[in-house]
Amino acid sequence: MLKNILQKINFNNISILFLYGSFLIIVFICLLESVTYPGVLLNKIGIKLSTLTLGLSVVYLFSYFKLNLSKITIKKSKPLLFFSLLVISTTLTLSLIESFTYPNFVFSKIHLNYKALQTLSSFLLLFLISPIISKIFLHKIFNTKSKILVIGLLFLTPIFSYFSWSQHLSTNNIIETETRLFSDTKGSFVFSKNELKEKAFKDQIYWFFKPNNSYAQIKIFFNIFTISFSTIFLIIAILFFINWLQNKKSSKIGFALLTFYIGGIAYSILITLISVNMFSVGELKTFVGRYILTYVLALIMFSFYLFLINFQKNKKINTSILIYMSLILITINIPSLSNLKPNKQLFSNRQKQEFLYQKIKDYFKDKDRPTIHTIGGEGPVAYRYFFVPYFVVSPIWQDWDVFIFENSGFKTVNYVFLASASEVFKKWSNPKFQKIFVDKKNVVDNGLYKVIYTTDDRSLFQFELINL
């Protein structure tokens, strides 16, 4: 009898039931938690939202692959795809808003628990990726005409690349830039607190409408000319319009430009938003100018590629026009082109220096890993590079003597590299500088000194010259 019952049950139908059932339950419970208060499920039924959705996701995936192995395709996936993308983009937007404001901002203002939406988004990402995995690994089909496959791959590649790096940083205990940025800026993104920043932000954002605004201008061609962002965008828009007049079929290209154009405005707003929070008003212009240029370059190059294709199709590329255009660009770029010639004197000086640095590194080879403080010369940044892989701990923005006498970080130092003795002699009248050298006569340029600590708490020390 049991055999008969089992024969009558269609396992494919059960899989479909599980698939749609788990999908609907996940969506339902996440939305329920979103519109109620955070943690309502844990309070009422004693199960965490994440545990519940994880379990249901596993059921969903098993059902999905069971159906795929039976070569049953899931119909009507388009609305599900739209729903998924909508939820994921909403979650991203809400997460960004909360990052720039303060914790619980979203829930307190619009009464939407976006953390529950984050769980739902994670599941929907799984939903998006399952057909891709199944197509590649189960059917061994890689059909570039499949919309869901291409869209999924295009979205997931940057996300997974980013998260793989993020994961790598966290396993190495390194704080990623975004986390630092958001924790630095949390709570400070309230313009009413800082009128100067508010003005700077508005000035920068309104560049499109105010081309004469100094924030809206960048220096190009080796700082000879000043051009506003809006002029660059306008020139490209006109060129595209001419292109479109010539080839009206290129509506797709027109769309690309439009998206690119709107994207340029959105990008400049985003970059300004970040920089207003991270930097002072004075630094804002440099920061924004540098980052917007990336977008401008992309826009110019893409436009040029499209023109090239259009002109090549119509056989309108004229060699003489190209020569004239190149000559104009060469003239504009003369200072930059002259830069291409290397500074041989600098190279020869560096060769001599490298000989000395190699001797120092050879000395360290059989020693415990040294920590070095540098005085004078090319500065700590350069010496960190020259002494790779050894640690140079000198701070960039602090005087070398302040670091020695007032910074507790100096207690970790066991070697001092004195690049320029004159730096020390400038302060020689102060007896504490004379006292730190074991032999006062041996204060020399490019000298490596061992730090000898004379007390257990490392508060007293002397420098002893090493014979390399």
């Binding site: 979205f155 980013y162 790096w165 977008y295 190059m301 040029f304």
Partner: protein
């Protein structure tokens, strides 16, 4: 010798993919650069960067063997192209002009060069505990390619970083020359020269530094160029995905550009039905 080894590896990769996908070599050079970065990144996050480099050498040997076995099937029209000539000339110029170049800029010393030198010395990504880099939260794509270039040399030579940076840029510019026939080589070289000058106009130090802001702009433009002007076959799709991967990991702001590029392409797929054409 180092430059010869590296160029042999890249051209072996490019030749193989040109043969495999039936594409012009200037289109597969940048594909090879992206793929090399991807392979080294995977090995790098597992702290076996040097093994990744030897793995690439092994792949080169395999690719060369396949090419030698099938040499009769290789289409020479796909190899001797205008884009390839552009890359050869431009790279030769870079080899000459960067021979005696040393790093000068503060920012480049602070991260871009010190990161590569640490990777060269430790054979690990600059995030390693043995590295003396301060900004370990920077992304690694460009430095990985520089590491690939400097690795075979006996000592760390910073001029190779400039050369690898230049090569990366030329490889990004070259695919747009694939539209020219061999007979149009004069015109193609002029366009190539014009292409060389455009980034220089915006970023004056793009060819003499290791800053990646300009590089990001070029990768972004490359993604849109490939998507909007080429048929979306397997090769184009893989190129796009590798480019998106590299763009995301070129700089922290790269994620903004790659998401923007993905959005533009997805809107086009949904509303203009690119895939059905």
């Amino acid at each position: 010798m180092t430059n010869l080894i590296i160029l042999t590896i890249i051209f072996a990769f490019s030749l193989f993919f040109s043969y495999f996908f039936k594409k012009k070599i200037e289109e597969t050079i940048i594909f090879s650069v992206f793929l090399i970065i991807f392979i080294l990144y995977i090995f790098g996050i597992f702290s076996i960067l040097n093994i990744g480099w030897y793995f690439i050498c092994l792949l080169t040997l395999v690719f060369l063997l396949i090419l030698v076995r099938n040499y009769q099937k290789i289409n020479l029209k796909l190899l001797l192209t205008c884009g390839f000539i552009f890359i050869v000339i431009a790279t030769s110029v870079s080899l000459i002009i960067h021979k005696y170049r040393v790093v000068e800029s503060f920012d480049e010393l602070n991260f871009w060069f010190v990161a590569v030198k640490n990777m060269y010395v430790n054979n690990e990504l600059f995030t390693s505990i043995n590295s003396n880099v301060l900004a370990k939260n920077y992304t690694p794509a460009a430095t990985i390619f520089h590491y690939f270039w400097v690795k075979p040399n006996k000592y760390f030579n910073e001029s190779f970083v400039f050369i690898s940076m230049n090569f990366f840029i030329y490889a990004l510019l070259a695919p747009s020359l694939s539209m020219f026939k061999k007979t149009q080589w004069k015109k193609a070289l002029l366009v190539g020269f014009f292409l060389f000058l455009i980034p220089l106009t915006i970023y004056n130090f793009i060819y003499t530094g290791a800053y990646v802001d300009g590089l990001m702009g070029l990768i972004f433009a490359y993604i849109l160029y490939i998507y909007f002007t080429k048929k979306l076959d397997k090769f184009s799709l893989f190129s796009l995905l590798l480019a998106l991967f590299t763009l995301t990991l070129t700089k922290v702001t790269g994620i903004i550009f790659s998401i923007a590029a993905a959005i533009i392409m997805v809107i086009d797929i949904l509303f203009f039905h690119k895939l059905n054409k």
